[in-house]
Amino acid sequence: MSLTPEQVRRVAHLARIEISDAEVQTTLGHLNGIFALIEAMQAVDTKGIEPMAHAQDVAQRLRADHATEPNQREAFQAVAPETEAGLYLVPKVIE
């Protein structure tokens, strides 16, 4: 399987990465290289093997349901580009 330049542009758009025509070509080469690796791996017979969701075969650790985090708004907002009335301000977005 190999990608088309259009698919590369779509993936870049979904990732919100601006990409020039020249970069589309280089990225296409890189991604196709990754696909070649995947194809090589797919040659391995995995019949009867349950897919793993994580590289480590261990269970998720859990925490007790207690509110433990204090309010640190001032510290967090001190490094924010813009805030007002306790809110983080961002370029206007309306879906």
């Binding site: 979904l14 919100r16 969701a53 994580h54 590289a55 480590q56 261990v58 269970a59 998720q60 650790r61 859990l62 925490r63 007790a64 349901d65 207690h66 509110a67 433990t68 985090e69 309010n71 640190q72 708004r73 967090f76 907002q77 813009e82 007002e84 009335a85 306790g86 809110l87 983080y88 301000l89 961002v90 370029p91 206007k92 977005v93 309306i94 879906e95």
Partner: protein, 484 residues
Amino acid sequence: MSMNNWEVVIGIETHAQLSTQSKIFSGASTAFGAEPNTQACAVDLALPGVLPVLNRGAVDCAIKFGLAIGAEVAAKSVFARKNYFYPDLPKGYQISQFELPVVVGGKLTIQVGQGENLREKTVNLTRAHLEEDAGKSLHEDFHGKSGIDLNRAGTPLLEIVTEPDMRSSAEAVAYARALHALVRWIGICDGNMQEGSFRCDANVSVRRPGQPLGTRREIKNLNSFRFMQQAIDYEVQWQIAEIEDGRAIQQATVLFDPDTGETRMMRSKEDAHDYRYFPDPDLLPLIISPDWIERTRKTMPELPEAKKQRFVADYGLSAYDAAALTGSLEIADFYEATVSAAGKPSAKPCANWVMVDLAARLNKDDKEFGQSPVSAKQLGGLVARIADNTISNNIAKKVFEALWNGEGSSADEIIEKQGLKQITDTGAIEALIDEVLAANAAMVAEFKAGKEKAFNALVGQAMKATKGKANPQQVNELLKKKLA
């Protein structure tokens, strides 16, 4: 245009906010209504280097829900990243579950219609999965910018998905109500729709009966049962009109506008999100042992369906009354406490007092059962005094009103203080009747001349003389005897 020969198909997705103290992957508080961003910690803000740690309480809620709907609680489920960009989602992805959800299958019994048209239906559930909520974007005027409040970011949600089993807006609303009652019943969600704790999306399509499913449109964020009904009704009419006019339905996401009563398109299939789900490498699979499930089962209250059947068997209630009294855990508990105060033989009158008199009075003052000024113990005490003939039903209504207004701490106290005790002493009633007869000689003469109406007037006079405290039947009999 007509609804004839069209079948409506509806599936519902619900986001239930879980009643935990802290967020699903961080230790920040989930309390509602705090100052903006005071409950958003480094994990919720997605600061570099933070890692999510799953909240056991959120998993407990999912297990309870799975048990309540007879579903399979997955021994192993996996968290996945749902990728999209929006400023109130700081990580650039929402942690959700995709291929392996925590709850699989299950069903919910719903009651559709009223009175004689009441019928039961089973709605099959597809799945329920754990996920985190996003923050809130405020688009008011911040000099052309949007304000972001991340207090809600990371709040635990259970997304509950049905099969496309509902066939009308009434069924959809009945399902939403039953689910709303259930999540509150088992204590996993407060169900507060104004605060967004329980929000529904409805997938709606129409087809000719027997044909394959039509193309669906999804109505997003229905936060009241009334809006759900209106939105689906409008959407169904719109889709039928489109098809009958020869236009095909395009898959889309729509929003309901309560002001116009219409649905309007938010995004088409072309703009649909491509979420690129993949397992979250920051989280290991969630393993739920059979032991954990059994321990949880032991903490669960008796479920609505089981309670309903017990009310029919133990208290001799009709299926309709039992269903109404198990509409919520609050009502059911109130009813049982009332019966326990009044005595089991009074179970049926207790049902009437709770469902009719008390419910109407609460409704009038816009109050919930939990806010009733008359306690179950007080109401039971009142019903007990009707049962032992201390007061008549009519006087009981007076005593109820007095209890409601706080004129006494118990029915007995009010009956005593206001002298409402029913007069059962035959001699006393006879004396009063004699007075009435003496004072109304004209009426007596009329009756004797054959005017039946005069008898009723005399009963009225006699009841008045007893200030309503005599048993009307007894007065009737005594009067008949005297006039014979």
